[in-house]
Symmetry: C2
Subunit: 475 residues, 2 copies
């Protein structure tokens, strides 16, 4: 079997960039900066018809002038110039490309013809390419980022293959704030050559990837998709957001990537047959895929809920039932053990509500440990992670009149978050958290997320992600 073309595109040793210049506010220049300033460990060559250097790097006039047949060419030139560049690549023996330029079949009949011309040139020279009309790829484990926004977060284990470049790159600030990292991110664009089937096939074998997210406006090769997705979803969970199933979605998709989208009914059938989870929105797409990439599956529907907040306890319990999860009342034995850790004004039945109090160790460590080890639940949802941010805010309010033990709290929270992590590891049961603070405010949330324990913005997001971990047949 021949090598998947994405293997070299995501792991190149050298890259030529067509379209970067001294003008800093152009796409090609952003991308060049992201590649060479972002720590890409290989050679980077700007190609520019007139300049000797671009952004401080020696530039070459044409592909033919490059000192090596690079592993990857990144093309961000005017639409009409793309066929010429592709021909140059072929003559230089360059076999992999990403065509960022748009203006092809997503625009009109002329664009469609031009795209066919590009495909023909590629076939003639044996070039495999992503796009056109895409944003490139991210492999933070290399690192490589050919896209527009910088990748600041840690490498992760969630892969994305997307018909939208925005969901690959512009979403990075959103993901970063939530502690979600990619293993790989692939912008598919118009899929003139490499498509989502190629991407699934590549990601199935990629060791850094533990779950796959798909943003789909269309599936172009139906039977190949069915066959490949069915195989891959047995190895790794796949979550898909499909947005082409309505009249307006379908029309927008046609303008966007030249897609001829199909009805929701057909796509629901495809997802059901292939074991793909269908996400209702972008938030769920990332939440679920992140959760599936970091947490074990829930072997059953029995959930423990632990919190210091009665409202979120009830929101979580209600959402569990709505998502097909149970919140069983604990055995009298377990309740008796928990009663030593829960104040008289709280509840130890499940949901466990310790109410307001300062016994953070009970809330985040002792109770989770006891509950996870009890054998009475298949997963744990915990709301209200954090504490340091609150003390810091109160310190700010008190304006020096009162001092809160901010540093002590920080140390202590860091300590007990490791306890929560260990408890979840010993039990091999999924743990998902929520909190109204985020990692930028409360370092313990960053710590938990970096340990692979998801912490979402709202209680219901935690339940919805836990329900994804409960999908039937998941290991």
């Amino acid at each position: 079997m021949s090598e998947n073309p994405l293997l070299r595109i995501l792991h190149p040793r050298s890259i030529a960039v067509f379209g970067a210049s001294e003008k800093i506010t152009t796409m090609g220049t952003y991308q060049l900066i992201n590649i060479f300033q972002g720590g890409f460990p290989g050679n980077v060559y700007p190609v520019h018809p007139k300049k000797d250097t671009v952004q401080g790097l020696k530039a070459y006039a044409r592909a033919q002038d490059l000192p090596e047949a690079v592993d990857l060419a990144l093309i961000t030139v005017p639409t009409r110039a793309v066929p010429g560049v592709m021909r140059d690549l072929g003559e230089r023996g360059i076999k992999r490309a990403i065509i960022i330029s748009g203006g092809f079949k997503e625009i009109n009949e002329d664009g469609r013809r031009l795209e066919m011309e590009v495909v023909e040139i590629a076939r003639r020279f044996g070039i495999r390419f992503l796009g056109p009309n895409c944003i490139g790829v991210i492999n933070p484990h290399l690192p490589l980022n050919t896209a527009m926004y910088h990748y600041f977060q840690r490498p992760g284990h969630m892969a994305l293959a997307s018909h939208s470049g925005t969901y690959v790159t512009q979403v990075l600030p959103y993901l970063q704030k939530r502690g979600m990292g990619y293993s790989r991110s692939i912008s598919l664009g118009n899929e003139a050559d490499i498509d989502v089937v190629t991407a699934l096939d590549y990601l199935a074998d990629d060791d850094d990837t533990r779950a796959i997210a798909l943003y789909l406006e269309v599936i172009r090769r139906g039977s190949e998709f069915l066959r490949t997705a069915r195989r891959v979803s047995r190895i790794k969970p796949i979550v898909a957001l499909y947005v082409g199933g309505t009249e307006a979605g379908s029309r927008s998709a046609a303008s966007h990537t030249g897609a001829m989208a199909g009805s929701d009914e057909i796509y629901n059938g495809v997802f059901a047959q292939t074991g793909i989870l269908r996400a209702p929105d972008v938030q769920s797409l990332y939440n679920w895929a992140f959760c599936l990439s970091e947490q074990p599956g829930a072997p059953g529907p029995r959930m423990a809920i632990i919190t210091h907040s009665g409202g979120p306890a009830t929101s979580l319990a209600d959402a569990c039932n709505r998502h097909g999860l149970d919140v069983p009342e604990f055995s009298q034995d377990l309740q008796n053990r928990l009663k030593e850790l829960v104040p008289a004004t709280g509840s130890s039945r499940n949901p466990v509500d310790v109410t307001f109090g300062v016994n953070m160790k009970a809330l985040f460590w002792d109770i989770p440990e006891a509950v996870l080890a009890s054998g009475e639940v298949d997963g744990l949802i915990l709301h209200g992670v954090g504490g340091e941010a609150y003390f810091r805010d109160m310190e700010r309010v008190a304006k020096g009149k009162v001092h809160f033990p901010v540093d002590k709290m920080a140390q202590f929270m860091s300590h007990i978050c490791k306890g929560l992590y260990q408890a979840s590891q010993s039990a091999r049961k999924p743990v998902v958290c929520s909190a109204f603070s985020d990692r930028t405010e409360d370092p313990v949330i960053a710590e938990l997320q970096d340990l692979g324990i998801p912490c979402f913005d709202t209680p219901e997001q935690a339940v919805s992600a836990m329900a994804a971990l409960r999908r039937p047949g998941r290991k």
Copy 2:
């Protein structure tokens, strides 16, 4: 008609705090600090059986010793001590109280009896009170915040009445990051005296409040609720999150506020009869109420979508149709006018996708203005607000080798966001935005939110909030 008891509770001229001490990590102390450091313009008196001063303020041993019959007493003492404090209030002629202390009917039969005793004392002395088992109130327009977390954000026009104190106070960091401010926030607790009906009645007449959010675990006075909610929802939109309709939700509510919750069917009927929008989760509750408090209603279902991102354009279009909103193709005339502002690789049909480019004025001002003035749409959804954060990130990546015009971008974005605001004001049509950056990263998002233009985390949240603005019968 007698004065609504919440009027003085939300607008007191003087407050006595029972339960604050020199110990800084107790609820009563947090609350005292929030009141007197938070800028409350009236007198604040700690009441403490043993101390002469508490947190730097002169303390009084009993209510009887207070120099004035304060407008409001805040009670955070051990459960068993509450009846005695209430008797003291009565003897001092104090008529309004908030009982923070828990341990009443939400716990057991003893607690229920104790709560009845408190109610009896209150009736005897004519005291009206919130709680017990609540967290207090916030009126940022005074300002007054008797709750646990500090209120840092601007005063807003969205009121909350809630059976959960968490959704009043612990949620503040969440709301702040999203530019959402309260007009009033009221923690109802066990509703032994003042309940959600009293709250609706008060909020209906409150001039700072333009929309009302309810977090409900139960409705205790069914027929009064029906009558009042029906009247109030004609004046101001009401959004409710009800979490008692499932087995687990109902059981959790009983432990939380001693509520006997009812089935979803009954509550759906109540909401339908009263014109209350039912929110599916906490995120929607705040999103919708915020939107309804700041934006005009959509007179029809026709939405314009404007963005520089094809993926979000399609997500938005798809979500619109799923929420009963249309995305009509613009007239040829309007398309022709837009074509001057949209590059050839983009689309001007609706969704308008200007694709990647630097013409921010076209994207955020000229196109919205033309579309809103066209008469062809009833509302506008715009994804991708921002720009400064991107340049700042790239500057960081470039490590001094390249300089991006961060300050120029900031000024420019601030300028055009005022243009977007003016366009929406002239057209009197709702505008809702989404972006993957937030106000902490991109000041233009803060500016828009502070001008009352919501900017949500994801495209689908913007559509869901816009759909709430489209509710039938809304002015």
